[in-house]
């Protein structure tokens, strides 16, 4: 996935394997991993051309931002109910809280 994020253009499975040469992955492993990532919506394969070229659907920064929103979101809209080390709120909520608990 990192290799796809770092690549400037869509890559074929072969090119991707060359990027990860030090991991010595089999072609079939590569394709399995790619199709799993595709099914989960992280990777897109372009059209009908052979060989298929793969690219990341969204940038690493986009995904990180999504994670952070989930982590930081206010308790009321945060379904994941994560325990955060220091709780965060939107500025408006902070005012409301101060009024309620003050």
């Amino acid at each position: 996935m990192d290799a796809l994020w770092d690549a400037s253009a869509p890559l074929t499975a072969n090119e991707l394997r060359d990027c990860l040469a030090e991991r010595a992955l089999a072609q079939t492993t590569m394709l399995t991993v790619l199709s799993r990532l595709e099914a989960k919506g992280f990777v897109a394969a372009d059209g009908d051309r052979r060989p298929k070229r793969f690219s990341a659907r969204r940038s690493r920064a986009d995904h990180t931002a999504e994670l952070m929103l989930e982590v930081l979101g206010s308790a009321s809209d945060r379904e994941a109910a994560l325990a955060r080390f220091v709780d965060t709120v939107t500025p408006r909520e902070a005012d409301t809280l101060r009024r309620l608990l003050g």
Partner: protein, 307 residues
């Protein structure tokens, strides 16, 4: 029986509104978060049972039927009446409300659990792709983001996530304190308590108190984790870590997220770690725990009496 029913109805009203309001404002809860959490859970459980129980009691009172005897009578009458003569419109409404409320609460718990599980799985996948393991800390991963954040993901294989911003901000002993804090959340399964109160809040959004309860519980869970962490790291180090993370949010890197730390909560958590702050006396703790048990048991015993 009528008096017991009225008492349980009164308990339902008290637990739905004035008691949580008072508890959310109480100051002693920060001294012994564990017993305060027990009390919150008793209020939620006792409140729910008392609401359902008093409605059932009111509906069944004139029939003289027990709950077990009543089920076949009412189930039979549902599609091919008539209801027992003693059941008037208000009794019918009360019984329907009890059934609907019970189903509503259980469905919401199931729904919240399912949604949470789905989100957590997706979150876990993304964390797996985006973060790198921290070699010195098994089970901990670093996420490349400037905002100072630490949290944990429960599950079969638990993960503690620390952001790059947090690792750069804190000294080694402070990071150790954060990790000890997060390990407590995971070990004591705090996510289950949070989940139950989230579901309660989702089920009763028109009760302003459910929201306040969820907030209070979230804060108490953090304090409880602080107390456990304090067994392995010094309270001073932990308080320093909390204050530094709290104030670091004012830097431009972190404020770009549009969130601010809950400054009041940060201050409360740091203050209670200062030396000289003692937990409640054992007698007071026992009293709160006994009261909690009574709140949860009274409506449960009443419901058993209905059988």
């Amino acid at each position: 029986m009528a008096i017991a029913c009225a008492a349980i109805a009164l308990l339902a009203v008290l637990l739905a509104w004035p008691v949580p309001v008072v508890l959310a404002r109480a100051r002693w809860t920060t001294r012994s978060p564990a017993v305060a959490l027990a009390l919150w859970q008793a209020i939620a459980l006792g409140g729910g049972l008392a609401m359902i129980g008093s409605l059932l009691g009111y509906g069944l009172l004139p029939t003289g039927l027990g709950l077990v005897e009543a089920v076949p009578v009412f189930a039979g009458a549902l599609f091919a009446g008539p209801l027992p003569a003693a059941v008037g419109v208000t009794q019918g409404l009360a019984l329907s409300a009890a059934v609907i409320l019970g189903i509503h609460l259980l469905l919401n718990l199931a729904r919240t659990a399912a949604v949470t599980e789905r989100q957590r799985r997706r979150h876990r996948e993304l964390v797996g792709l985006l973060s790198s393991p921290i070699p010195s800390q098994p089970g901990a991963r670093m996420l490349d983001h400037p905002a100072p954040v630490a949290y944990c993901l429960p599950g079969v294989r638990t993960i503690t996530v620390l952001s790059q911003g947090l690792i750069e901000l804190l000294a080694d002993d402070e990071l150790e304190a954060v990790l000890a804090h997060e390990r407590t959340h995971l070990r004591q399964q705090h996510h289950l308590v949070l989940l139950a109160f989230k579901a309660w809040n989702a089920a009763l959004p028109w009760f302003p108190i459910a929201n306040r309860a969820e907030r209070s519980v979230a804060e108490l869970v953090e304090m409880l984790a602080d107390d456990e962490a304090r067994r392995t790291v010094s309270g001073e180090t932990l308080a320093r870590a909390i204050k530094r993370v709290g104030s670091a949010w004012e830097s431009p890197d972190a404020s770009g997220t549009g969130y601010v730390p809950d400054a009041v909560a940060v201050q409360r958590r740091a203050e209670r770690l200062e030396p000289g702050n003692r937990p409640l006396s054992p007698a007071a703790r026992s009293a709160v725990l006994a009261g909690s048990a009574a709140l949860a048991l009274a409506p449960a015993i009443f419901m058993l009496g209905l059988l």
